[in-house]
């Protein structure tokens, strides 16, 4: 054993597996539970009245508590969007598809949403959309409960109504 081995080990495999068990938090637990009933909850800033969806415990902007939960609509306005042309791990959808920010009616910030039942080239800022939910009995209380958003056919929302909610 006075000489190094002729064939040194070149690599060491280290398979790292780290399981986590996240606490949703009472605020978000209410939000997730409401999804089962096809309801979307936001939290209202006690100082400015702004509504955040999903709910947060304080307004990042005003720093005041946002501890009151209120219901917002499951329809809203596309504020900005992109057309996805490359496959993404974990999302098995025909390409291209549209990922959008949707400002729900009654909310002051937008959520991320998939837009379907509409050709990608027809999606635009100001377009009115509504949630398409999983059928009754299949909703689990998670974000998969909303399958996607689709156009409502309403006239476009005026720019001023969503430009501060991108």
């Amino acid at each position: 054993m006075n000489e190094p081995p002729k064939e040194p080990v070149k690599y060491v495999d280290a398979s790292v597996r780290l399981p986590y068990h996240y606490v949703a938090g009472d605020h978000r637990a209410s939000y997730l539970r409401a999804l089962k009933d096809k309801k979307l909850l936001g939290s209202k800033c006690s100082k400015t009245g702004k509504v955040f969806v999903p709910p947060v415990i304080c307004s990042p902007e005003s720093f005041a508590p946002a501890d009151r939960l209120i219901e917002v609509k499951d329809r809203g306005t596309v504020t900005t969007f992109c057309i996805v042309n490359i496959p993404v791990i974990g999302r098995d959808l025909p390409l291209p598809y549209v990922a959008a920010s949707v400002a729900l009616d009654g909310a002051d910030i937008s959520i991320f949403a998939l837009i379907q039942e509409c050709a990608p080239e027809h999606v635009h800022m100001g377009m009115r959309v509504e949630a398409v939910w999983k059928p009754d009995g299949e909703r689990q209380g998670d974000h998969e409960d909303i399958l996607y958003f689709r156009p409502t056919g309403e006239p476009d929302a005026p720019r001023a109504s969503y430009i501060n909610r991108l």
Partner: protein, 373 residues
């Protein structure tokens, strides 16, 4: 010693340490603590120049997990921010350095993390090198046991010595309402607990726990307006040792020894016995004995009072344990220590550690009077 800028601790808030907060995410735990610390100082978020958070993404289980904390730290309008993958005590050190540079007068320091959501032993295994040490399955308890063995072999310390040190913390810790472990225990009781990893018994180790902490620092001129009894930083020093456990003498803490020498010199403190109270971040009684030796503390002497909070053995929340030690000295010297108050305390030492076998050590000397005129 060159005169430095006088900087004080002016506020500290923590959540009581619990095994698992089922109702709040880490940021939701942090928000009320930040609010309370600011309210105690009578200031708003706009009065803070600089903020710094101690947390760890591995514990959060989220890349850039620390970014979420910005939303509950009053970070709007945008201000200077830093994050360390370190206990909040090290963040306080960094804030102090920034204040010495003169570019901020006030700083908000937080520590947060939910140990209960992941598996800390697996996570902390990954902070060892992946070739020789992590690969053989070492975790913080087994590395601490290696260190305890080395210390006992060198000094002749016995199992009973460790139990006595642990019992002393348990006795003191019963008076601290923020502790996770609040039942006192005797030496005999602890001596009969099963081995965790020999020579460490289960009764010598803190349970896994979580909390959230916030400290506010302010420079002279502002500190007096934010606190009726600011606690001034007289000296501080931070030392890091090698990662490879075999490359250092685990029976001693060279880092803590040097950090204490430097911090004491900065503070003009001759020896630890001249301080009234000391708080050490020791996750095992062997670590505590090693640290006492490093800082020149006689654990049997009446002065300084050793870990009147119960120390980390009664609650060791990841990313906050060290900041709590510093916060405890603030509480002791500013008349906020309740039932565990050390009478007429005017000078205190706080120590924070991080990493396997006390790899990183940070020592503070604090006093009720300004250090430099």
């Amino acid at each position: 010693m060159t005169a430095l800028r006088n900087v004080a601790i002016v506020g500290f808030a923590q959540l009581p340490i619990v095994a698992r907060d089922e109702h709040r995410m880490a940021t939701e735990m942090l928000y009320p603590v930040v609010r309370q610390a600011l309210a105690d100082c009578g200031v708003e978020r706009d009065d803070i120049d600089y903020q710094i958070a101690g947390s760890t993404d591995y514990m959060d289980g989220r890349p850039f997990g620390f970014v979420a904390a910005l939303e509950v730290m009053g970070s709007w309008p945008p201000r200077q921010d830093l994050h360390l993958e370190m206990d909040g005590a090290f963040c306080a050190y960094y804030a102090w350095v920034r204040m010495q540079a003169g570019d901020c007068d006030t700083a908000l320091v937080v520590g947060h993390g939910k140990t209960s959501e992941g598996e800390p032993n697996r996570i902390l295994n990954l902070s060892l090198d992946p070739y020789y040490q992590a690969a053989i399955g070492l975790d913080p308890t087994s590395t601490a046991a290696l260190q305890a063995s080395a210390y006992m072999a060198r000094t002749g310390a016995t199992d009973r010595d460790l139990a006595t040190m642990a019992a002393r913390n348990r006795s003191a810790g019963a008076r601290n309402p923020d502790n996770q472990v609040r039942q006192p225990a005797t030496t005999e009781e602890l001596l009969h607990t099963p081995w965790a990893v020999e020579p460490l018994r289960q009764g010598y180790l803190p349970p896994i726990g979580e909390s959230a902490t916030c400290m506010i620092l302010a420079a002279e001129g502002k500190a007096e307006k934010m606190c009726n009894r600011p606690v001034w930083i007289h000296g501080t020093d931070h030392r890091t040792e090698l990662q490879t456990l075999g490359a250092r003498d685990l029976s001693r803490s060279a880092g803590a020894t040097l950090a204490a020498q430097k911090a004491f010199a900065m503070a003009g403190l001759q020896r630890a016995a001249d301080a009234d109270v000391v708080e050490l971040t020791a996750a095992t009684p062997a670590e505590e004995l090693i640290l006492c030796e490093a800082l020149g503390i006689d654990p049997k002497a009446s002065r300084p009072a050793l870990n009147p909070s119960g120390g980390a053995l009664c609650g060791n929340p990841v990313m906050s344990s060290g900041l709590i030690r510093l916060g405890e000295i603030f509480r002791q010297l500013s008349g906020r220590a309740g039932e565990r108050a050390v009478a007429k305390a005017r000078c205190g030492i706080a120590h924070a550690a991080q990493g396997h076998c006390l790899q990183q050590n940070l020592v503070w000397v604090l006093g009720t009077e300004r250090r430099w005129s």
